[in-house]
Subunit: 218 residues, 2 copies
Amino acid sequence: MDGNKKISIAVIKRLPRYYRYITELLENGIAKVSSQELSRRMNLTASQIRQDLNCFGGFGQQGYGYNVEVLHKEIASILGIPDPFNVIIIGAGNMGQAIAKYENFNKRGFVFTGIFDKNPNVIGQDINGVKVAHIDTLEDFVKENKTDIAVLCIPKENAMEIARRVAALGIHGLWNFSSTDLHNIEEEFGTVVENVHLTDNLMVLGYRISELRKNGKN
Amino acid sequence: MDGNKKISIAVIKRLPRYYRYITELLENGIAKVSSQELSRRMNLTASQIRQDLNCFGGFGQQGYGYNVEVLHKEIASILGIPDPFNVIIIGAGNMGQAIAKYENFNKRGFVFTGIFDKNPNVIGQDINGVKVAHIDTLEDFVKENKTDIAVLCIPKENAMEIARRVAALGIHGLWNFSSTDLHNIEEEFGTVVENVHLTDNLMVLGYRISELRKNGKN
């Protein structure tokens, strides 16, 4: 892929979905796929798919379709998957532990390397092969171990302080599960932040159910 | 609020964030707030905030701002919060358990009422005050207990089958943590679906880190 070409964020957000489908095809030994077939599986129009895949040079052949292996490699390369990302988790509560044990991440090139907490009751506990360490050892750990992403699974009260501490260590990515927004971290430190506001998402679902009922469809 | 007025989905998606901030203000005993103050806290422009709040009748007074309590009630009512939603969880693995224990949901009016699995090793286990039941008892449970939302925390292989089973029971909302898309459920059953594709989100983060590094900003 031409590393200089800029891909729109809308296409980027669809890429993991393409990656998932194409990985499935690859795992099932399927060598080629048409945009019609992808369209059916992904609920996008075939022309949308052709347009998306053209964005990063994945040209299909008329009457043949796309080579699944090539497409898989291209998307993996755009998403930065050939280089695994080392991931630490801050907060060994329920959500932190669930993330640590989520097997899909490993398959997608994210390696769980450390987990930190301040609660003496969990420190030393083994979670998916990694011992929970005290949060005060974070700085030493990051100095000695390449760390790409920190996952914040801590209460919102501490989120900003820990986010600044993590970003100051030069960690490039923050995956934020704390139900608060981390303002200014991107601007100040250049660290990229992705938020997973589960409660927000659940509330949108609640709203849509209320609307459905108001409209008497159900 | 005028129940017939249609609010755009973009505004709806910002509502939980307004709700979070305004709940905080309320909890801190703050009686009024200006659009400038909300703007600073929420990283939106003041004019965007005025426009959003006008959408559902939350008119501020010149030189006074918005009444926090009134605003809180209005947003809660739009989001359907006065009526609690009963939530069951399908899959008592790590993610299912983390969701069951996530205390923020309860605060937002979502009540955890049941959890189901097929694994004999977890059936009967107590999770946040609720015993894990066998998935085969799902139909009986839903007949006897008002159930608004089912959270799918199961492997993608079973997701579609379980989603259809849940939707056929007349449950109005599906919150999908399985890393697969649930096509046609909305169309066929009228059940609303919100997806939390954690791996997709993490991959977008990975992509953004790669871009950051390519551009030599870090």
